[in-house]
């Protein structure tokens, strides 16, 4: 199992960079800008470097939003194909990561809606894979925590789409309200409202699952 403890810090640094338009772009941004220019002039190898740099972030976020590897893989592929198609729209003075995160959220929304229609049609059962048990603990705890994650996933998945995405980015990804608002192209007050409602609903759902406590 691989952990990714620094991913949130990476996103946050990317957002901080994106918020200071007058500041000189950081070396990483310049490096990406060079890769983008090479890609736009037809160099596929340069785009492969772009994918290598961001694939883990994109797939991880997609897994958290969609819950299954299969959907996350589809989402990530779609995100990078869209990114390739619209690469010329990227502001090279700004970091690429927030742009990709926004695209990931939008692609995941589409996939989620399609999946919902499929579930409604075929009554398939959902088995989330993004939150499996921590294998470092004893078997009993492993099973218990696995069940709890499944339960939380169901609660999360029962939220309205906007609330689910906002609370995932804020509480699970650990982004700030401003960063979530930037990704969702929304206002901070809207994000606060979505997150607050989602937290209350999650609490109620947890209480209910834990035995009806309110």
């Amino acid at each position: 199992m691989e952990h990714e403890p620094n991913s949130t810090a990476m996103i946050q640094s990317a957002f901080l960079m994106s918020r200071s338009p007058d500041a000189e772009p950081l070396p990483e941004t310049l490096e990406i800008a060079a890769l983008v220019r090479r890609t736009l002039s037809g160099d596929s190898a340069a785009f492969e470097c772009v994918i290598l740099r961001y694939e883990r972030r994109v797939v991880t976020l997609a897994m958290k939003l969609l819950g299954t590897r299969e959907d996350a893989q589809d989402a990530a592929q779609e995100v990078f194909l869209r990114a390739y198609k619209y690469l010329h729209r990227l502001d090279l003075q700004k970091p690429m990561e927030p742009w990709l995160m926004r695209m990931t959220v939008n692609v995941c929304k589409n996939i989620s809606r399609k999946r919902q229609r499929r579930l409604n049609t075929f009554s398939e059962s959902e088995t989330p894979e993004a939150f499996p048990a921590d294998k470092s603990c004893d078997p009993y705890t492993e099973i218990l925590e696995g069940q709890e994650r499944q339960m939380l996933w169901k609660a999360l998945n029962s939220l309205p789409e906007r609330e689910r995405i906002a609370v995932t980015l804020r509480d699970i990804e650990g982004l700030s309200t401003a960063e979530v608002a930037a990704i969702l192209e929304s206002s901070e007050s809207t994000v606060r409202s979505q997150v607050s409602r989602a937290r209350v609903r999650m609490k109620d759902a947890i209480d209910q699952m834990m035995g009806g406590e309110k």
């Binding site: 199992m1 691989e2 952990h3 990714e4 403890p5 991913s7 949130t8 736009l40 037809g42 596929s44 785009f47 492969e48 994918i51 290598l52 694939e55 883990r56 797939v59 991880t60 897994m63 958290k64 590897r69 996350a72 893989q73 990530a76 592929q77 990078f80 194909l81 390739y84 198609k85 619209y86 010329h88 729209r89 894979e129 993004a130 939150f131 499996p132 921590d134 925590e145 709890e148 994650r149 939380l152 999360l156 804020r170 509480d171 699970i172 650990g174 309200t177 606060r192 409202s193 997150v195 607050s196 409602r197 937290r199 209350v200 999650m202 609490k203 947890i206 209480d207």
Partner: protein, 296 residues
């Protein structure tokens, strides 16, 4: 703050998500309210539970195989994607890249293209009559084809029974005469508005429409009933003495003909020559033409 509506606010408060001023207000309330303190504790508990179970480091990172599959699929599809990029995206990309490289030069070119396209559109519109089918089409020297789509021309005015008469007595009939609806071709209208002169090729069309009196309780007046005649005058100095030819497209049965010879008796011409205010045209009775001259 009302305790009954505070759960959402408290859900933000416990995670430091409230703006400073509001957070201070809530803190002040919570310190004094046992109910809210309890709600805060419950919310903190559920938040801790969610984070402990779902936040890093407990989620599994995508496997190298999964990442590799994503990468390979994308790279293989990009080859096709390059060929299947729509024209819209290709043009957008070319313009964006050109603008990035040459900045203002591209902007100036784009503006010039837009202005040229606009001017071309206007020229096409104004030239369509002169370079397309003219307003007056002659089959032979004096045989005029009935003007097409003249109702899309400029309507210059209407009158009822307005005719010059040799008699100096006032008419006594209480029955109104026909309406005279007059149109002029747009190119001639523009030229007249600009210069005050009617150009060669000017066509005036006069439709006569029978009038009807309506006298009913709650409804009275005169209105146009059915078309009874169609006449035209054309300015063409190469064909007609005095510059203008006059035509009547109505046959003896009252039907409108597709073509007609110029009237040869000279009755129309003499009256138009003597009494019309501007070059055989009764502009004194056409307010649209008068105002066009005044506005130009």
């Amino acid at each position: 703050m009302s305790c009954a509506h505070s759960r959402e606010v408290l859900a933000l408060f416990i995670e430091d998500d409230l703006p400073t001023v509001q957070a201070e207000r809530v803190r002040h309330h919570v310190n004094a309210c046992r109910n809210c303190q309890q709600i805060c504790q419950q919310l903190q508990k559920s938040q801790s539970f969610i984070k402990a179970r779902l936040k890093s480091p407990f989620y599994v990172s995508p496997s190298p195989e999964l990442l590799n599959a994503v990468r390979q699929t994308v790279l293989s599809q990009i080859q096709d994607e390059r060929q299947t990029l729509g024209w819209g995206v290709k043009i957008e990309r070319a313009l964006t890249l050109a603008f990035r490289k040459h900045g203002y030069a591209v902007a100036v070119v784009a503006i010039l293209v837009i202005i040229s396209a606009s001017l071309l559109g206007q020229m096409r519109h104004s030239l369509s009559e002169t370079h397309g089918r003219p307003a007056a089409v002659f089959e032979s020297k004096n045989m005029l084809l009935r003007p097409e789509r003249y109702r899309e021309w400029v309507f210059v005015g209407s009158s009822i029974g307005l005719e010059y008469s040799v008699s100096h007595e006032m008419p006594t009939s209480s029955t109104p005469d026909s309406f005279h609806n007059v149109y002029v071709n747009p190119a001639a209208y523009k030229e007249y508005a600009k210069t005050g002169a009617f150009p060669e090729g000017t066509v005036m069309v006069l439709e006569r429409v029978r009038s009807e009196i309506k006298k009913e309780p709650g409804l009275h007046g005169i209105y146009e009933k059915e078309f009874i005649a169609l006449e035209a005058s054309v300015k063409d100095s190469s064909r007609f003495q005095g510059g203008w030819g006059f035509f009547d497209f109505t046959d003896q049965d009252g039907k409108v003909k597709a073509k007609t010879q110029a009237l040869s008796d000279g009755s129309c011409r003499s009256c138009h020559e003597e009494r019309a205010e501007t070059d055989h045209v009764f502009t004194q009775f056409y307010p649209v033409l008068r105002s066009a001259r005044m506005e130009s």
